[in-house]
């Protein structure tokens, strides 16, 4: 009741042209985003299951917190 079964995975994607290396995404989603020596995000390339709600939540924070709006979440359904 109330809990939807979540199947599938998601990726956090960055538009590298828009990205100016503010670093907010690293602060907001450290489990997904690490930083290179120039301050630009290195995003985890492996898929994250959508059932991992905590990570999905921080990915959403990162998307909303990006000053250049360079991030987005790409969902891939499993079928």
């Amino acid at each position: 009741m109330g809990v939807r079964r979540r199947s599938g995975v998601f990726y956090l994607r960055v538009n590298p042209i828009l990205c100016d290396g503010f670093g907010h995404c690293h602060e907001l989603a450290p489990e997904l985003v690490s930083m290179d020596e120039w301050g630009y995000p290195i995003i985890r390339r492996e898929p994250t299951p959508l059932s991992d709600l905590a990570t999905l939540e921080s990915a959403r924070f990162a998307v909303r917190g990006c000053p250049r709006q360079a991030l987005r979440i790409e969902r891939v359904s499993e079928n």
Partner: protein
């Protein structure tokens, strides 16, 4: 034209382009294809601009895309500084290219064809202009041809950068999250192919897929244009059958028969050890050493040269040619160039720089909007593999004989200041 004869594309004299009449006489045909797209599919032609993507698949994607007023773009930008194949082809046989473009336009239903030539190559611009004028005078029906002259930059020939230039007058690559992506000029879908690919399409349209497959290997049939530079008497553009051994190609080009290594594919290509000289020159074989045919570039590095020095010069220039849009490319490539310079300097920091180089390659890879940084990473990685001994030597201040001789083999253009770079 006979099936097993070689000059297919370069059927003429470079420097004196065939006129429309001569062209029609040379390539006279009675062949009628039932379906040009099927012919293209059966021919197994792949793109000759570097990525070797199947031309028929790309054309089919665009044919099935809805919309009117689609556009065919012929890419003659020739961004690689050591490649002359596109301008040689245009100075030999421009009408063959235009034929191919017209065929592609009829396949996808395009009304416009844009031929993009670098404005820094006035000879090629003139050749295309003359060919287009001849066609206009002959009153040929069919799609409308246009000539556009974009500025010459390394990344300006990348397809999204070229389309961006046609749209907004800026030769900057675009970010394309979806692949395969369809590029648009003012909302009209674009089919973009290299000049040489178009010329092959022109030949397939005239003589058919079966004729095309009489030369070359079964996986990558046909012939291709190769630019051989470096340890040669003079740079040369050859037309070779795919799958010819590298040794034969070098021999025909009059190159040093015993080079130290070969740079294959271009500045974003890979070094190949001279031990593999007897390998056939095609993508399937070269893939096992991480190299590709790329844009048909071979630079022979003589025994009296140094691979580390050459790599550093190329990477330095490539770093300067970055469009500076993406952080990992704008900052990462100069960092790679500095690391290589540190290794060459042979100071206390050199072995550290060598380790940092390997680490930074992994950090930069796959993080740009276009493949420019990936190409540089591939070059550096292949150099680390092929010249492993030289790298160690330089890092411990025992410089190789090649670097002390001061000989350089890869022609690298002058480094322009950032303010001098023209993007529009």
């Amino acid at each position: 034209m006979l099936a097993h004869e070689l000059p297919r594309l370069l059927n003429g004299t470079p420097g004196t382009p065939l006129t429309l009449g001569q062209h029609e006489a040379t390539f006279a045909t009675t062949f009628e294809a039932a379906s040009l797209l099927d012919e293209l599919e059966n021919s197994g032609l792949t793109g000759h601009g570097g990525a070797a993507f199947p031309t028929a698949r790309k054309a089919r994607l665009l044919r099935d895309h809805r919309g009117h007023n689609k556009v065919v773009v012929v890419n003659a930008m020739e961004g690689e500084p050591v490649s002359y194949k596109d301008s040689t082809l245009l100075s030999t046989n421009p009408h063959l290219v235009l034929d191919g473009a017209a065929i592609l336009a009829s396949i996808i239903g395009a009304k416009d064809i844009i031929v993009c030539v670098s404005r820094d190559n006035p000879t090629a611009v003139g050749n295309v202009q003359r060919a287009l004028d001849e066609r206009a005078r002959a009153g040929a029906r069919g799609p409308q041809f246009n000539l556009e002259t974009a500025p010459w930059r390394y990344v300006a020939g990348e397809e999204s950068a070229l389309v961006h230039w046609l749209n907004d007058n800026e030769s900057l690559p675009q970010y394309r999250p979806q692949r395969p992506s369809i590029l648009k000029i003012r909302h009209h879908a674009v089919l973009l192919d290299n000049v040489e690919t178009c010329a092959h399409v022109g030949l397939i349209g005239r003589f058919g897929a079966e004729w095309f497959r009489t030369l070359g290997t079964s996986v990558s049939p046909g012939s291709m244009l190769v630019t051989v530079t470096g340890a040669v008497e003079r740079p040369k553009v050859l037309e070779v059958v795919t799958g010819t051994t590298l040794r034969t190609v070098l021999e025909f080009a009059g190159a040093d028969p015993d080079p130290q290594a070969l740079l294959l594919g271009g500045y974003g290509g890979a070094w190949l050890d001279a031990a593999h000289l007897d390998a056939p020159y095609d993508n399937e074989t070269l893939a096992q050493w991480g190299a590709t045919v790329g844009a048909g570039i071979i630079v022979a590095l003589g025994r009296d040269g140094c691979g580390v020095v050459e790599t550093q010069r190329v990477v330095q220039w490539m770093a300067n040619e970055s469009a500076r849009q993406c952080g990992p490319c704008a900052f990462g490539l100069p960092a790679l160039s500095d690391d290589l310079a540190d290794v060459l300097a042979g100071t206390r920091n050199s072995s550290q720089a060598l380790q940092r180089l390997e680490h930074r390659c992994g950090v930069i890879e796959g993080r740009g909007a276009c493949r420019h940084p990936d190409g540089v990473v591939r070059l550096v990685r292949s150099a680390l593999r092929v010249f492993a001994g030289d790298f160690e030597g330089h890092a411990h201040a025992t410089h190789c004989a090649g670097s002390r001789s001061g000989n350089v083999f890869v022609a690298v253009p002058r480094l322009e200041k950032e303010s001098e770079l023209v993007w529009e």
